[in-house]
Symmetry: D2
C-alpha cells in the first residue's frame, strides 16, 4: 500500500503522471475553515512545471477542482477531495520505458513490485507529479498553522557544491522567512542563488542534472508538540518527507554534524528570557525527546540530482532480459530542488498540524 | 500517543526507566516460529548497560519474561508480550530532575507535553532504557529475516571526528557483516576502533561525552519490497529509527553527499549479471522509488553525544521559574553509540519485516 | 473523521449528495486484476435511484469514471480512485433543511458535529447516495472473491411485518445465491416478495415509509479467516455494515434468538464428511471465536424505515430555536431496503477480502 | 492480528487463559488523571470468576499490577500497562482439547487460523478470561466519563426466555442506572432476576447452559459525538463489543424491531424543552447518522449460551481426523451473561471515550 498517511488528518493520495487525473482526499479538517484559494494556487504554482527555464518544459496549469468537503467557501469537516486533470501529456515519449529501465528511477523496482502492471508512462504513480496534490493539502495546512502564528519557510541550502548561508548563521526573523516563502528560488544570499541558477542552466546544456539540499524552518511552534518514541516529531516528519521522490536524507538541528561535537558543545543550555524558557543554542533543531521545545524547528532534506538525463545511459531491457542503452527523450527538470521546496514545506505543514491535533 | 507502531507487525511499547517494568507486545508474528532464546539474549546483552568501561555503570541484566504468545517453545500467532523488570535503580540520584531540566534531554519538553505528570526519574518513558524491549522485538524479527537469508549488520562509522572505513569502500560480503553483528564495538578497521575507544575513555575522564554515526547494511533483501509515497522503505525505516533517543539524522545510500553529484554520476546504471539485474554503483542505497532494488540496503544514522554529562551546566529551575546550574549525578554512558548499534539493527529488522508482509 | 476504513484494503470515501461529485479511493488492490466493468455497472445499477416505482424518483445514472490505478484494463496495484458526478439535483427542495431538522435524519446531529458548516442539501455527506462509491468498491471485491469461488448473496428477509423464508430453512446452494444476486427485489418466496412490494406501494401512497431486514450469506469461505478479539469477523463486518445509513442492528447465525437456546441446543456439533470438518447445525453463522469455520457465513441487518416521509412532522427550527412543523418535499424512497441489499453485499465483500489478506 | 484497537485511546491486549499472565497496554490516556483504584477493583470483581454459585468455580483474584504509565497515583500520559497473573489453572483438565474440538468454541477455528500452534489450554487467547484486562481499561474509561457526568449502566434484559422489563418502559434516571451498575446480577424487576437465577442453577444441575441479552444505556452523552460512515458510533461500538467472546448480535435503539415500524412511527420527532433539543421518542437509541443526539444511548447485546457444557457432545478428533465424542471436564459458567455485563460496559466506555477525543 502507498497512498494513506496520518492520524488526525488523514491523507489519501492517488493518480499517475499520464492518467486522467491526480488528486487527494483530506479527512479530519476542522469545519468552518475559510480557505484562501488564491494562496493555495500560489503554492501550486511554486511547484508547477513549465514556469521557468530551470524546470521541465511540460506545462501543466495544475488547476484543481474541489469535489467535496467544501461548501459556501468553507470546509464542511467531512472529507475534502480535490483533483487535478492531467493535460500536457506526451505519452509516446515514454513508449520505450515499458522495457528500458531508466537508471535512478523507479521503473525497475515498480515493475517488480507491481508485477509489470504499473502504469509506466512518465513514471506513473511514482512521478514527482503526484506531489501536486500534496502541495494542495499542505497549502491548507499552512493556512491553519498561519492562523496560529506558525510560519514555515525554506531556502536552497546548496545546489551541487554551491552553498548558500545557513539558517544557523543568521537571525531567523519572521519577515525573512515569509519573504523566502514567496520566492521561486529562495536563497539567503542572492549571489549564491545566481551561481546556483547559472549552474543549473549549464548542466541542462550538458544534458545532465544536479541535486541539492533544502533547509526548512518552522517558527513560533509551541513547545510540547510530539511524543516520545514512535510519534516523535522526527519520526512523523521524516515519514512524510521521505514520501517525496528523490529525497535521500533528512537531519534535524545540527544533524549529522552533531555527531562530531562533545556533549558539552552539543547540549543546548536552557535559560529564561522575558519569562520564556529558551535554549542558548539550537543544536537539537527545536526538538528534544521527540517533542518541540519552542525553539525554531530546523531540518534539512537531501535531494538527489534528477534521475532523468538526456545522455545515453547503460541499462537493461526487461523484455529481452539483456543489457541495453537508453537515451531519455521526455521533458525533465535539470534540477528538481526549487520545485521540491514547496513540497517539503507542504509535507512538513501537514505533519506538524497532524501532531498538534494530538494535543488536547 | 507514543507507543504503537506498525502495520502487519504491530508493536506496543511501555515502561519507564525507574518504574517496575518495561516491555513490549508484538502482534502479528507468524504462528509456529521457534525463537532462538539464546540469540535474543545475546542481542539484549549487546545493548545492556554495565557491560563495559565505555558504558554506564548502571547494571541491568535485562532478563526478559515472556508473558504470552509463546507456547511449547514456539510463537502461537497471538500477541507476544515480554517484560523486563527494572532492578538497579538509583532513583534518589534523580530527585533534582523534578525541577532542574537537563540540557539536551527531554525533561523540559516532557514536562510541557505531559503537564508535569510524567515520571521524571531517569528520564522516565524517554529513557534510552525503553529501547531494550525494541531490541527484544528486533531480535525476533532478525531471526525471521535470517530464515529468509537476510542479514543485517552495522559498524561504527565515526565517533566524534574519528572515522572508520565506509561500507562503500569495501566488499560487502556476508561473512564480514555476520562477524560485525557479534561484536560489542563493531568497526571495519581495528585501529580506528581502538582510537575511538580511547577517545571515549578520555572524554569520560573529562566528564564529557561524544556521539557518532552508525552505518547499517541489509544484505540479500529481495527487490520489490516497499511502496511509493507514504510507505516508502525510507519513510518506514526512518519513522522507527527516529524513535530511538539521540538520533538526529538518517540518510540512505550516498545520502546528503548525493546532492553534490551530477545526475550522470549519481544514477545507478543497471546491468545483468548471471541473469540477475543489478546496478553498477549503489548510490541510492538499494532503494529506488521507495522500493528495494535487490542491491544492499545501506543507511547511516547520526547519534548525538550523550546529553548526560557530569560537568556543571546552565539550565532553568521550572519550579522556581528561574535560571540555575546543574551537575548531573546519575550514572551515564560517555558515548551511547556502541549501545545504539543493536537498537538500530533491531528497529530496521522490524521495519523491513513489516514491509515484507505487505507483499503477497 | 469518517472517511477511511480498512487494513489491507484501505478505502477513502468522499462526497456530498448535492456536491459536484462523490467517490472513493481504494488502496491495496492486487496488481494485474482485470475488472469486469459491466459487472461493476450492474452492481451500481442495483443500487442506483430512479429504477423502479418502489424507489425515489431522483434519477442518477451513477456513471463512474476511474481516475487512477487502472491501466490497460487492469489494476496497477496503486490507489484506484473512481468518481461519480452528481447530476439530477433539486437543491432548492432542500432550502428549509438549513434550519428545519428532519426527524430520523442526521440534520441535527450533523449540524452539532460540524458546527453548522456541513452541506445540508439532501443530507450532504450523510446521504445514502454516498453508498454508491461503496458499491463500486464492493463490486471489485466481489470479483476478487468470486475468483476464489466465494459467493455473496442476500434476500429481503422482511419488509415491515411481512416475512420471507429464512436461509436457515432452505438448502443454501450456489445456484440459488447466484440467482438472488441478480434480482432487484431478491426473495426466496415469490409470493412474500409480491406482498412486500404491494405494501411498499401502499405506504408510498400513504406518504409513509417502511423498513425491513436483509439476510446475507457468504458461501465457500475457507475456515481460518479472522482473528480473536478486535479483529473478529463480527467486529470487522459490523464496523463497515453500520457505516451504511439506516442500519440499526446486526446479528450473526441465530443472532438474538441464540440467547433463548440452551447450550446443548446452540452448540454446533462437529463431524467429518468426505474428509471435511463441518458442523451439523450452523447456529453460529459460520463464525467461532471470531474466525470462519468453513460453514456458510450468515448475518442479518436491520434497516429502519426511510426517515424522509412527506407527512407533516413536528420538529425544531434551529435558527429560530423553537418548535416547528415540517413537510419534506424532496424525492425519496418509500422503502430503502431493496437498494440497501447491494450496499450490504458490497460492504461485506470488502470486509471479507480485507480479512483474507491478513492470512499468509 | 487481533490485539490492537482504537484511534485516540489505543489498546493492546495480550495473554492466554493458562499462560503466566494476561494484560493490556493503554496508550493515549490524559496525563494527571487520578485513578480510583478501589473502583477499578470493584469492576474487576464484577467480572472475576468464582464469586457466585452462578459462575465457574475457577477462582482468580484478578489482582492487577500496573507496570508503567502511573506515577505518584496519577497517569503520566505515557503508555499504561497492567498485568494480571494467572493463578488457579487446572491445565490438565484441558489435555484432550489438543485434539477434541469443543462445539461452540474456537478450538477448531483457532487451530486452523494458527496452524495448530495456538495455546489450546482453557481456550488460550480465545478465553473469556482475556476480557479481564478489557474491564481494567474500561474501569479507567468509566472514571474519565464519570468526571464529565456520563454514566453507563446495564441490566440483564433476558436469560433464555425469561424477560426483564425494558429500558424503554421505565424512567431512565441516573439513580437507577447507578444502582444497577453496582449489582452483580442487575435487573429492573427483582422477580425476573430471581427467576433467571433459579433457571441458571437449574441448567447447571442439568449440565447445560443458557445465554441472554444485556441492555446497556449511556446517560448524559453530549450531542455531536461520532462521525458519518466508517466512524459512526454504531461502527465503533459494535467493533469492540463483538470482540467479547459469545456475542452474536448488537442492536441500537429499537434495533431489529424498528424494521417492523412505519417511518411515521419510527421517526423521533424533535422538540425543545428548557432550551434543550430533545426527541419525543428514542427509537434511534440516541444516535442519528452515526452521531449522538444527546438522548440516552441504548443498545442490546446478544450473548450465546456458554459453549462449555458437561454433557457428552459429538465432535471431531483432529489428530485422528475422525468423529468422536467429548465430555468437557473443566470448570465453567452455566451462564456467562452476568459476568459479560461489566465487560460490555467496559468496552462501551472505551469506545465512547475514544470517539469523544475526536471532537476538538
Amino acid at each position: 500500500m502507498s497512498g494513506t498517511w496520518g492520524k488526525n488528518i488523514k491523507l489519501s493520495i492517488f493518480g499517475e503522471s499520464h492518467g486522467s487525473a491526480i488528486g487527494i482526499t483530506i479527512d479530519g479538517l476542522e469545519p468552518g475553515l475559510e480557505i484562501d484559494i488564491e494562496a493555495v494556487k500560489k503554492e501550486m504554482d511554486r511547484r508547477a512545471p513549465g514556469r521557468s527555464p530551470l524546470a521541465t518544459a511540460r506545462r501543466e496549469s495544475d488547476t484543481f477542482e474541489i469535489l467535496s468537503g467544501y461548501f459556501n467557501d468553507r470546509t464542511t469537516g467531512t472529507p475534502l477531495c480535490a483533483i487535478i486533470r492531467n493535460a500536457d501529456q506526451h505519452s509516446k515519449d515514454y513508449g520505450d520505458l515499458k522495457k528500458l529501465m531508466r537508471p535512478g528511477h523507479a521503473d525497475y523496482t515498480g515493475n517488480v513490485r507491481y508485477k509489470g502492471f504499473n502504469d509506466y508512462r512518465g513514471g506513473g504513480h511514482f512521478s514527482g507529479r503526484i506531489t501536486a496534490p500534496l502541495v494542495f493539502a499542505g497549502a491548507i495546512a499552512k493556512q491553519i498553522l498561519a492562523n496560529k502564528g506558525i510560519i514555515i519557510g525554506s531556502h536552497i541550502k546548496s545546489i551541487e557544491k554551491i552553498q548558500d548561508a545557513s539558517f544557523e548563521e543568521i537571525d531567523l526573523n519572521e519577515d525573512l522567512i515569509r519573504k523566502l516563502s514567496y520566492e521561486s528560488f529562495p536563497v539567503i544570499n542572492k549571489s549564491s542563488g545566481d551561481n546556483m541558477q547559472e549552474l543549473i542552466l549549464k548542466v541542462k546544456k550538458d544534458l545532465d542534472s544536479v541535486g541539492g539540499i533544502v533547509e526548512t524552518v518552522i517558527l513560533n511552534l509551541p513547545s510540547g508538540i510530539g511524543s516520545p518514541f514512535f510519534d516523535s516529531v522526527e519520526s512523523h516528519l521524516s515519514s512524510i518527507i521521505f514520501s517525496i521522490p528523490a529525497t535521500k536524507g533528512i537531519e534535524f538541528g545540527k544533524g549529522f554534524d552533531i555527531s562530531a561535537l562533545k556533549g558539552s558543545e552539543a547540549n543546548d543550555e536552557f535559560y529564561i528570557e522575558n519569562d520564556i524558557i529558551k535554549t542558548k543554542t539550537n543544536n537539537n533543531g527545536g526538538i528534544l525527546g521527540g517533542i518541540t521545545s519552542g525553539m525554531p524547528l530546523v531540518f534539512r532534506t537531501a535531494i538527489k540530482p534528477t534521475a532523468s538525463i538526456s545522455r545515453e545511459q547503460h541499462t537493461v531491457d526487461i523484455e529481452a532480459h539483456k543489457n541495453a542503452t537508453l537515451s531519455i527523450k521526455g521533458r525533465h527538470d535539470p534540477c528538481i530542488v526549487p520545485r521540491a521546496v514547496p513540497v517539503i514545506e507542504a509535507a512538513s505543514a501537514i505533519a506538524i498540524l497532524d501532531l498538534m491535533l494530538d494535543i488536547r
